[in-house]
Each structure stands twice: as structure tokens, then as C-alpha cells.
């Protein structure tokens, strides 16, 4: 909304209004002693955009007391009572007041406020802006009369306003933009307008969570990825002892701050959950073995740790917790995952972990209003426990969805090369580091790779993935060892950050084609079990290879090039390019 032009917003609001015709509308009534007509389209748009159908009515200018008498208690009142407009030149005149006229004005205004309190005390929720003097007094070192006048009436508000009054601190709204952006007094004396479009937008963003909360439309659950979201590092690759989540490791402190924020949310009854492509054992180990971690495993009501796409998992989470998909906020460091969720489940609010990690706690603080509740009830506090019990009863059922359309929209391009001299170091590093998507987990040294490069018995394929959002760099390796009469896939690995896009299947097909071109027919391959690579246990089965031997630690396969190429179809939305040498 902030970037939208006002004319576009008026049009968009009208379109949203048409789409909501026939639905029950909430009525918001604005009372003001200045002209605030531009608030109408902006507030309507801000709420309609959150699927709350509202009609905003701006009542007659400077007629707050009469207009508020006998107000329908089902409408939500918003009050702009600007002390600068108590009389024509009040801001200036008050500085010349004697003590007695000062007191008289205070008393008169207090009486009027009391009357308004009485008119609105039966409404469900009233927005009343605290008085502000800052536009006129920002350079005053010592308070003058106007400032004292405003402060005194704010004290009165604090003491006497009925409980249903939500007092809005306009200074927070001003400071989110700036006084000069919020005020435009050019036409104040001619049309009694004081505030700019930018102010109204900021004001609406500020109060909208409280209105949404009244209609149970605020967010209920915060679901997070693990690696580089709950901690810095990849637990499956770096190990539980090397990830950063407290002052013990570099940058860990920012994750610790995030944990405190999450813990405070959980305390208020917000459901915390994990949705991550990881081995469950690895994640559990972090919670078990890292006492410096603020959050405990049980703080997370729901944990979904598997290799399914995250949109399906989030959908499953919403079903399991029995909350609307639109009441979920999802946090991940990967733009790919964020875009996938935005594309499939646009009603989920997503937050991407900032690249500058010191901005991460601030990002969450700025979005806490997503979880706004007018009151925290005993039930809210129990809610997390209830969900926990509920989720223990049900076994999570995965819902698979067809994400091919989404993947096709990404323009994925895979660039392949064989024995590229420049990348020996990276190839070595990947064989050393990759634990999860690694079929045989053979670790090599630069000398080993060098030897393979020089030998006619080996191919060392590497792969780089790019899409319209950028390149992932060199993230896949396949080493083929040619024996007499057959080709053996010695190593097949991918960095886990590119998984979920069928890259692995595309890569395997390209490798098989390359082997076939070389004149080989039979391919041997194997899976060697480690603590970390359970996710690829059936990789070759899925690709139609024949299992010829298996025991607890190993599975051996064979396939025939022609058979493979005729039964396994190419991934048509991935473009493949071979680098020429």
C-alpha cells in the first residue's frame, strides 16, 4: 500500500468493493474536527485487501459530539480530535492565555471529552488518537502553553477514557515516516486538511491489526524453516556443534535475539512450528545437544521435517492445527521457498530472513502486529497446549500438490560441464561437505580429483543451476568411472539448497545420455547408507534402476541406457546446456 499511488488506490479500492458486494460489511465511522476525507478510500482498501468487507463513513466536519450521539454500537468509531483546531488560531493564541483562561479551556475540553466517552462507551472498540503537539513544538526546548495543554489532556485521557477506547499514539505513526511527510498545512486554513496521504497510509497500517483482530483475522501461527532461519548454518552439513544460535558462534547472537522474540510470541499463545527440509534426527539433536539454545523442542507445537515441497507441508500444517491457511506466517531464508509459497498459497504471509543478519530481529519486531490481539485471554494461553495435544493425536498426512506449473514459471536452466579445470577446488569441497543428497558419500582430496581429470577412465560432471531469480552456483557433481563393459556412477551429489526442483532427475538423465554417447550400455550405481542420507535411499528406484543387491548398509543397482532413456521422460521445464570445451 505504501508504494501505491493515491489514484490507483482509489481505483483498486473500488474494484475490491465491487468484488465484496453482497457480503456483510463492517461499518467504520470517523469523527473529526478537521477534514480527513482521504482516510476513507485508504482505510477501506487496507481492510478490504485483508478480505474484511468494510464501509468507512466520514461524518460532518467538526461536529463530533452531535454526530456521536446515539451511534449504532455495531459500528467502529475512529476519532480525530485535533487540539490545534479548538479555535481558529488556538496553537498561537493559547501562548498568550492567562492561567485562568488556560484552566477554563482545559475544563471545557474535558467536559466535551467526557460527553464523547459517554456516547461511545457501549461500542466494542473505539480508536481515539492521543493528542499531539509535536508538529508545532518540535524545536521548543521548554514546554510552552500549547504543549502543557496537550500533555494535561493526554493525562486526562489516560485516566478517564473508558476501557473500550484504544488510545493511538500518533507519535509512532509520525516517526515511522516523519513530521514533514505526515503534515501538509498548506490548505489548513482554507480546507481544514492537516494530514497527507502518506500519513493516512501509515495510520491505517498502524490500526488495521486491531480491527482485524476484532474479527479474528490476525495471524495465529508462525512457522519457520531451520537452517539459516532458526540458526546460522546447515545442520545436516555443518553438524549440530558448528551452527550458530547464541553468542558461542559468530552471528549467533542475532538468532538468539530472534529466539527471544519467538519465545515471547509463544507466551502470548501464538503457535510456533517448524517446516524444514531436514532429517528429523539432525534437528532433534540440535535441541538436545545445544543447551545454549533459547528455544526448546517443545516450544514448537508442530514440526514437519521431510523433503516434500513446503507449500504442501504448510497446507498440511494448517489442516492439522485446524487453523485457516491465511492465519499462518512463514519464515525462510530461501527466496525459492518463499516464492513457491507465495505462488501456491498467496494467503500465507511470508518473511524472508534478511541477508544482513543483524536486521533479522528488527524484521520480526516490525511484523509483530500481524499477531495483534486486543486482549490475551486464558484460552489464548492454553491454545498452544491444545494444539500440541491435538497434533499428537493425529498423524500428519501429507498432501502432495502439483507444483510443476510453478517450476515451469521459473525458467530453470541447468548448465553442465565435464572436467572443468577451474572448479577442481569446488568439486573437492562438495565431495567433502555434502552429506544429505549424496549417494555414496565418497570424500576426495584435490589430488584425487586431479587424477580423475587426467584419466580416460573417469568423467567428472558438474552442474550449475540458474533461474529467473539468479544462479545457485556450482551445486552438483557426478563422477563416472568407466570399467570394461560398464560405467559405474561413483559419486552423485547435489547441494540441498537446489532440491525440490527435479534438478536431480534432470542431472541423472543428462549423465546417462552422456554415458550412452560414449558407447556404454550398462550402468552400475549404488547407495551407501550414512546417518545423513536417508532421503536418497530410493533415488535410483524412483528412476527405474533395477535393484540387484541390498543389505543394511548398501543398495546396488543396474540399468540399461536405452531402457532408461525410453522409460524415464525428460523434465520438460528444465533447459539443459552443456558447456563446450
Amino acid at each position: 500500500m505504501k508504494e501505491m499511488k493515491f489514484s490507483e488506490l482509489i481505483r483498486a479500492n473500488s474494484e475490491l468493493g465491487k468484488a465484496l458486494i453482497g457480503k456483510d460489511a463492517v461499518k467504520i465511522t470517523v469523527f473529526a474536527n478537521i477534514s480527513v476525507n482521504q482516510l476513507k478510500p485508504i482505510l477501506e482498501y487496507a481492510l478490504r485487501n485483508e478480505t474484511l468487507n468494510v464501509t468507512v463513513e466520514i461524518t460532518d466536519y467538526d461536529n463530533i459530539l452531535q454526530e456521536s450521539a446515539g451511534l449504532d454500537k455495531n459500528t467502529i468509531p475512529v476519532v480525530f480530535w485535533e487540539l490545534c483546531n479548538l479555535s481558529e488560531n488556538f496553537v498561537y493564541e493559547v501562548e498568550t492565555f492567562s492561567d485562568s483562561s488556560f484552566s477554563q479551556f482545559i475544563e471545557k475540553t474535558q467536559n466535551e471529552l467526557s460527553l464523547l466517552f459517554d456516547h461511545l462507551k457501549t461500542s466494542g472498540l473505539v480508536f481515539f488518537n492521543r493528542f499531539s503537539h509535536s508538529y508545532y513544538t518540535r524545536y521548543n526546548l521548554k514546554p510552552g502553553n500549547y504543549e502543557r495543554f496537550v500533555d494535561s489532556l493526554n493525562d486526562f485521557l489516560q485516566k478517564k477514557a473508558p476501557e473500550n477506547f484504544l488510545l493511538i499514539d500518533l507519535h509512532k505513526v509520525f516517526s515511522s515516516r516523519s513530521l514533514d511527510i505526515c503534515f501538509d498545512i498548506r490548505n489548513y486554513y482554507s480546507t481544514k486538511t492537516l494530514y497527507t496521504i502518506d500519513f493516512f497510509k501509515a495510520y491505517c497500517s498502524f490500526i488495521v491489526p486491531a480491527i482485524l483482530s476484532t474479527f479474528s483475522k490476525t495471524k495465529k501461527a508462525l512457522i519457520l524453516d531451520c537452517d539459516n532461519t532458526l540458526w546460522k548454518g546447515i545442520v545436516g552439513e555443518d553438524g549440530w556443534e558448528n551452527i550458530a544460535l547464541s553468542e558461542k558462534n559468530k552471528d549467533g547472537i542475532f538468532f538468539k535475539q530472534v529466539h527471544f522474540i519467538l519465545k515471547s510470541l509463544a507466551k502470548r499463545g501464538i503457535i510456533l512450528g517448524i517446516c524444514s527440509k531436514n532429517n528429523p534426527q539432525d534437528v532433534e539433536e540440535v535441541f538436545r545437544k545445544r543447551p545454549d539454545m533459547v528455544l526448546k523442542y517443545d516450544d514448537f507445537v508442530i514440526k514437519v521435517l521431510n523433503w516434500n515441497d513446503k507449500a504442501s507441508n504448510l497446507e498440511a500444517i494448517s489442516k492439522k492445527l485446524n487453523i485457516g491457511i491465511d492465519s499462518i506466517v512463514f519464515v525462510d531464508d530461501s527466496l525459492f521457498e518463499i516464492k513457491l509459497v507465495n505462488d501456491h498459497l498467496p494467503m500465507i504471509k511470508t518473511l524472508q530472513v534478511p541477508e544482513k543478519i543483524y536486521e533479522y530481529p528488527g524484521l520480526l519486531l516490525d511484523h509483530l502486529s500481524l499477531f495483534y490481539t486486543n486482549t490475551t485471554t486464558e484460552e489464548d494461553l492454553q491454545r498452544a497446549r491444545m494444539y500440541m495435544e491435538e497434533s499428537q493425536r493425529n498423524e500428519l498426512k501429507s498432501t502432495y500438490r502439483n507444483i510443476d506449473d510453478y517450476l515451469a514459471s521459473l525458467d530453470i536452466e541447468v548448465v553442465l560441464a565435464n572436467k572443468e579445470p577451474e572448479v577442481i577446488e569446488r568439486v573437492t569441497q562438495l565431495t567433502q561437505k555434502t552429506n544429505q543428497f549424496n549417494l555414496t558419500t565418497k570424500r576426495y582430496l584435490p589430488g584425487d580429483v586431479q587424477n580423475m581429470y587426467g584419466s580416460g577412465d573417469f568423467d567428472v560432471f558438474n552442474l550449475t543451476v540458474g533461474d529467473k531469480y539468479g544462479s545457485s552456483g556450482l551445486t552438483g557433481i557426478c563422477i563416472v568411472n568407466y570399467q570394461s563393459g560398464y560405467a559405474e556412477i561413483d559419486t552423485f551429489l547435489l547441494s540441498c539448497r537446489i532440491l525440490g526442483r527435479n534438478i536431480e532427475n534432470c542431472f541423472l538423465r543428462e549423465v546417462v545420455m552422456s554415458i550412452h554417447k560414449k558407447g556404454f550400455r550398462d550402468i552400475h550405481a549404488s547407495y551407501k547408507k550414512t546417518l545423513k542420507n536417508a532421503q536418497v535411499e530410493n533415488f535410483y528406484d524412483r528412476n527405474g534402476f533395477t535393484l540387484i543387491y541390498h543389505d543394511d548398509s548398501e543398495r546396488k543397482y543396474q540399468t540399461d541406457c536405452q531402457h532408461f532413456l525410453s522409460t524415464i521422460s525428460p523434465i520438460n521445464y528444465i533447459k539443459t546446456v552443456w558447456k563446450k570445451r
Binding site: 499511488k5 489514484s7 482509489i10 481505483r11 490548505n187 480546507t191
Partner: protein, 76 residues
């Protein structure tokens, strides 16, 4: 620029863009009331990054005049 202004007017007054011509004015477009006028001024200032003065605001009484006054502001 004329097309931009037409688009803005059609959005602000919620009418079809083809309904805006040189003689469109508060007299023949009911949505162009005092609030509509304020919204129009705000939107034009936002679009062209200009600030109109009091006299200019009062003079913008039909589409043609709006265009002239924007040109005048842009030249200042």
C-alpha cells in the same frame, strides 16, 4: 501527459477514461465535488512531483485548465 491526467481523473472519479474530454468539469461530472477535487489535486501532485498554489487549485475547473496549470507548474 494528457493521457496520464485522463487516467488519473478516471481513477479518482471512478469513470471510464473515454468519458474524460477537454470540457470535463465539476459541472458535468458529479463525482468532481470538493472531496473529488482534493483527491485530484493530491494525485496530480504525486504523479508530477509538483505542488500547486492556492490560486492554481481554485483555477483547475475543467480538464483543459488542469493541463495548462500542470504545464505552468512544471515550467516554474
Amino acid at each position: 501527459m494528457e493521457e496520464k491526467v485522463k487516467k488519473i481523473m478516471s481513477d479518482v472519479f471512478l469513470v471510464d477514461i473515454n468519458e474524460i474530454n477537454n470540457y470535463t468539469s465539476p459541472d458535468n461530472l458529479p463525482q468532481w465535488d470538493s472531496i473529488g477535487h482534493l483527491n485530484l489535486i493530491t494525485s496530480l501532485e504525486e504523479e508530477f512531483n509538483i505542488k500547486f498554489n492556492d490560486d492554481q487549485i481554485i483555477q483547475m475547473l475543467n480538464f483543459k485548465l488542469v493541463i495548462e496549470i500542470i504545464k505552468e507548474s512544471l515550467h516554474q
